[in-house]
């Protein structure tokens, strides 16, 4: 009705046709399905974190804002990525890495915010951000500049370099500065440990996706298809981004020690 009032008949058909193309999800395409689900889940999570932020104590507001930003940025990118994927059937590599370049450092900010009250310095934040950027830059080179048809040597080399950044973050979360600082408060320690689990298990799903690129190691070893790249990335994003936020949310509303937690 509204469309009919606003646009002439030809324009209406053009818009409808575009929408139908974009909205058509092939029934046998789990990648497209996860793009749409991922988009909705991220958007819903953002709304949730932004609204709940108002209810949280002052010291948790920034952490919840960051959680909402992470899922919000991801939701916008997923909006574009799902269209790109449905329209072309290709991996939206550039969009994916733009999303990660913004959201992964923000996840590191969460670690910093949680341990700030226990004395975390800005240097910790920078170290984590540098490690995450290192991880993403080499991952991007590995994926975006993969020779046509795929090259296992290329993907393994950049995958190896990228993993070094991941290992640094993993070590910091489990044994390093973040783990040590979180010991000052039982609630924070528990939450940091859960986030460390996300890094250990959830973030480990990304390399599985990476290794599915054309010429990727898992494709060679198991005969998998490169369509799995986005499937694993979408699953990992949903688990990690929303999960990260929910851990922070539960800490904010679990009566975390008000004496020390000043995130």
């Amino acid at each position: 009705m509204i469309l009919g009032e606003l646009y002439p008949r030809t324009k209406q058909l053009s818009i409808m046709s575009t929408l139908l193309n974009v909205m058509e999800i092939p029934k046998d395409d789990p990648v497209a399905f996860t793009f749409f689900t991922g988009y909705m889940a991220m958007m819903a999570a953002s709304v949730f974190f932004f609204f709940e932020r108002g209810r949280a104590e002052g010291k948790w507001k920034l952490s919840l804002l960051v959680s909402g930003l992470i899922t919000g940025i991801a939701a916008v990118h997923y909006y574009y990525m799902r269209d790109y994927y449905v329209a072309t059937g290709e991996n939206p590599t550039a969009l994916r890495y733009i999303d990660w370049t913004l959201t992964v450092p923000l996840m590191c900010v969460e670690f910093y915010l949680l341990t700030k009250a226990a004395g975390a310095k800005t240097s910790l934040l920078w170290k984590l951000i540098i490690a995450s950027v290192w991880m993403l830059v080499f991952g991007y080179i590995g994926e975006a500049f993969n020779p046509a048809g795929g090259d296992t040597g290329h993907s393994v080399m950049y995958g190896f370099l990228s993993t070094l950044g991941y290992i640094y973050i993993l070590y910091t979360a489990w044994f390093g500065e973040v783990a040590k600082l979180s010991q000052h408060d039982a609630n924070v320690a528990k939450s940091v440990r859960i986030l460390a689990w996300f890094v250990l298990v959830g973030w480990a799903i990304y390399p599985i996706g990476y290794m599915c690129m054309p010429g990727g190691w898992l494709n060679t070893a198991l005969g998998w298809s490169s369509a799995n790249v986005d499937l694993f990335y979408n699953i990992a994003d949903a688990i990690n981004k929303i999960g990260f936020g929910l851990v922070v949310y539960s800490l904010a509303f679990s009566g975390g020690d008000s004496k020390t937690a000043q995130a």
């Binding site: 296992t152 290992i167 250990l200 298990v201 290794m211 070893a221």
Partner: protein, 300 residues
Amino acid sequence: MSRSSFIFIVTAFLTLPLAEIHHPYFSVVEAVFCLALIASFGIAHGAIDNHLYGFKNLAGNLKFIGVYLLVGAGFGALWYFQASIAFTVFMIISAYHFGQSQLVEELKYDSWWNRGVYTLWGFWLLASFLHLNRLELFELSAQDFEVLPVFRWMLENSSVLFYTGSGSLFASLLYSRYKSLLTWQSLWIEFYQIAIILVVFYFSSSLWGFTLYFVILHSGRVLQQEYQYLLDRQKVSRLFDFVKLLSPFTLVSIFGLAFIVAGFAFFQINYSYSLLALVFISCLTVPHSWVMDRFYQERN
């Protein structure tokens, strides 16, 4: 999560793609590298058994070494007369020893239940190794089947052993958690490590898969426990002292093994080297497992 678990997981992540390198030179480099690691770390983790046993004087030390060698030699004799029995006993003892080193810090209290879980963990490990590398192991050890029909049987029935072992281990770990013998944290870490071990055994060559487990997760963990124990009792004050303590018997064992292998080659004794290695390793493992069991009991 212990540091050895962390190093194991990280090394697995970084080295898994090596499984796709099929160059013949790479196999040689891999074999040399793995054997060097097993010989150095593997032997080193048992090289201070006399200190762990807690001897008081030179006579006591000599007596301990004498008994240790005698047990080893006795097991060697069992290999000579009843290879299949020796191999089966070696598998059971190894299973217990591997499981004990893996879970002794996680399972609370010392009990027969815990000992059963240790054995199940080790049984699962060995069954997984055999099952996920069965084709390669069949090829490598075909010449030894005549002496070791039990090994052939294990490989042929590896799937039954693997699924039985996995199911039993899974159930026993869950029951341990139900009985509060294991924390949730330890349970999840254990499941995660089990998953990584399976991935490593599945994708890597049998030699690299075993080396990664044996050197990092087993020997590395035991060395860490030994170092901490000696540090607490002020028998060593820094890592260098610990290495000095390990060195004599490590070097003697490595040179001794090299000497025996060279002797076999020199006298052209027609014997399978893989079987020979298995016999030597078992002769050292049996007394070592006994000392470690005593060490864990006294330490706890």
